[in-house]
Amino acid sequence: MGLPPYATTGERVWYYAFRVICIAIFFFLLAPILIMIPLSFNAQPFFTFTREMLTLNPEGFSLRWYEDFFTSDSWMRSIRNSFIIGIAATVLATTLGTLAALGLSRSQMPFKGLIMGILISPMIVPLIISAAGMFFFFSSVNLAQTYLGVILAHTALGTPFVVITVTATLVGFDHSLTRAAASLGASPTRTFFKITMPLILPGVISGALFAFITSFDEIVIVLFVAGVEQRTIPREMWSGIREQISPTILAVATILVLISVALLTTIEILRRRSERLRGLSPG
């Protein structure tokens, strides 16, 4: 939508002013995240650009905060914990969520509205309330401060995303394919793995990624349910920010931004592939 040649002066001014405003808003969205990346290479323990950095003097830059991060026992343990908990919760949430989505998308499903409401409730309820509830419950069944407790809690938080993405994939699903497989003598299990699964796989994977990032980024539940042994990356960042804020946090933040870029790219590729497979868009 370019500017038409007959535009009045006022329209011209507004046209450019509007774009300047929009670019400023995008700057507000992106700048805070991007500004941490150069700052994480700061040679000084400050959260601001030093004179050396501004003049691009190599002396002003260093990898010391990255070194700090990779040689710190507590940070390394938190990475291990984040991946253990994240992967276990993702596997559980994806399995349970995909099965449930398959059931929900059948037209015969009874009490659909009520059940859907319960299944997505972990997404609606404020985290502090989920955390409080789980704190009391897990303490009473000896699951507080255990890996299993945190994994179960994160599984519950991740399932709504799997249910929603897989249900959305199943909207365009052609059920005559499974009927054809059944009429050719395939058992329901075989039909699922040979016909249904390959078709809904993009939805399942993006649901799994959502579940993983939910667990990977989750802190409130970890604060209440996890013990010292189960500290994850966000939990370690939390105490880093609260207790002794050092630029190591910026190094961690930069690494996390890179991880989220990788995940975002994967999801975008999967989404396009899924749309192409279902014939929703030509490219």
């Binding site: 650009f49 099965l99 059931g103 319960i118 404020p126 985290l127 502090i128 309330i129 009391f136």
Partner: protein, 435 residues
């Protein structure tokens, strides 16, 4: 085998089956019943697929939250600890100090409790419980508990000698009032109220009112954040919706990148930018706009909470707005202009009303998320940027007044569920998308 199968099929076909519905299946059941059975079986199969997740969430999620809400009215401490005293107090009018037999019953309760193994003792928890209603109650009870074995009749004097609080009619009123298995007193406290001498609910002293104003502040902050998200989200969603798909997708990535970036990373980013020795303050000082000794305090206060949370929640406003704006045909605006409307009028009367579903969806989403937010206010909010979640967490972890935390949490949860219900009526939960 084949003959045995054929038998009933024949009789069914020639007998009652034909006379009623006319059609039967190969094994002789009327078609309608067979279809109903198949339908039932498919219903069961569908339900069995959902059942594992449903059961899991009921146990790990719904039940714990129900348990927490129950805690906000559950009141076993006094009933469990002093059953004899409560029995003796029955019929007490609450005006004068109870008579000797009540104190004797109290003594008996104390003695019975001391016999129990330490983990099962009930008097200690009762002291903590009564302390929520009357500070110093816990001290009085634990001191009495240590010396109660040496008490001699008359017990009334012995108790009064031990601690002056036993002579306070207020304490006895509280024991009587809280000597019931269910209580509303946590909600009374959560609404900044208290019971007065004749048991009616009145406002607390001015300087002890916390929660109502905190709820109000949480609401005000959420409204402000929602409005700012709308103000910033509307132009960029509009811009994305009029750009060709290729550029729009590129800008969409710019919206999604913050959306996908860890919450703590984004909060850290704002600390880096806004703190006193941070990027913005240093830049302003270097440029000579402000002096080195009066750097702006933009974080650890309400400003910090608003700025950081607006940044964090902006994508939740842009995504629904954009998906609505994409569907509005540009020809409507052209038609309005060709009919003589100025651009401003055309926008106000034609375009804007069509974006209302998107605005509603985005606003409710942002509002629901921000009203229960905990992490960002805790890290950058300081004192003035605290929200109700922070108070819940404080009662959970520091003051350990779990009943009050549960009451505040239940009120918050009910508010969010009502909002969500409204959201659902407005747009439908199925439209929730995550990029």
């Amino acid at each position: 085998m084949a003959q045995a199968d054929a038998g009933p099929a024949l009789t069914g076909a020639s007998g009652s089956g034909r006379s009623r519905s006319g059609l039967v299946t190969a094994d002789g059941t009327p078609l309608r019943r067979a279809l109903e059975r198949a339908e039932r079986r498919r219903k069961l199969a569908a339900f069995l697929l959902v059942a594992p997740l449903l059961a899991f969430l009921l146990v790990v999620f719904i039940f714990p939250i129900g348990q927490m809400m129950w805690r906000s009215v559950d009141n076993p401490q006094v009933v469990d600890a002093v059953p004899r005293t409560l029995e003796a107090l029955r019929g007490w009018d609450g005006n004068e100090l109870p008579e000797e037999r009540v104190f004797a019953a109290l003594h008996a309760d104390f003695m019975a409790d001391a016999e129990l193994p330490r983990r099962e003792q009930k008097i200690g928890p009762m002291g903590i419980r009564l302390n929520y209603e009357l500070s110093a109650a816990r001290g009085a009870i634990s001191r009495t508990g240590r010396n109660v074995e040496s008490f001699e009749p008359p017990y009334k004097e012995a108790f009064l000698d031990q601690h002056r609080l036993w002579g306070d009619v207020e304490l006895w009123r509280i024991i009587q009032r809280e000597g019931r298995p269910l209580t509303l007193s946590y909600y009374v406290a959560a609404l900044d109220r208290q019971y007065d001498a004749d048991g009616s609910v009145v406002l607390r002293d001015e300087n002890r009112r916390i929660y109502v104003s905190l709820f109000m502040r949480t609401l005000a902050l959420s409204v402000a954040i929602t409005f700012l998200c709308f103000l910033l989200g509307f132009p960029i969603a509009y811009w994305m919706s009029i750009l060709p798909m290729r550029y729009a997708n590129l800008l969409m990535i710019c919206v999604l990148l913050p959306f996908w970036t860890s919450l703590l990373v984004r909060t850290t980013a704002w600390i880096v930018l806004l703190q006193q020795q941070g990027v913005i303050n240093t830049m302003l000082v270097t440029l000579g706009i402000i002096g080195d000794d009066n750097r702006l305090s933009m974080i650890y206060n309400m400003t910090g909470t608003i700025v950081a949370m607006t940044h964090i929640l902006l994508p939740f406003m842009v995504l629904p707005l954009y998906s609505v704006m994409r569907t509005i045909p540009p020809s409507y605006m052209r038609a309005a202009k060709s009919l003589g409307a100025t651009p401003a009028t055309a926008f106000r009367r034609v375009y804007f009303p069509q974006t209302l579903p998107g605005i509603g969806a985005g606003a409710v989403l942002v509002f629901i998320i921000s009203i229960g937010y905990y992490i960002t206010p805790a890290l950058v909010g300081g004192q003035t940027g605290r929200m109700i979640s922070n108070e819940i967490a404080r009662h959970m972890q520091q003051s350990l007044n779990w009943g009050l935390a549960a009451a505040l949490g239940t009120m918050l949860l009910v508010g969010v569920l009502i909002l969500y219900w409204a959201y659902n009526r407005l747009v439908g939960a199925d439209t929730l998308k995550f990029g």
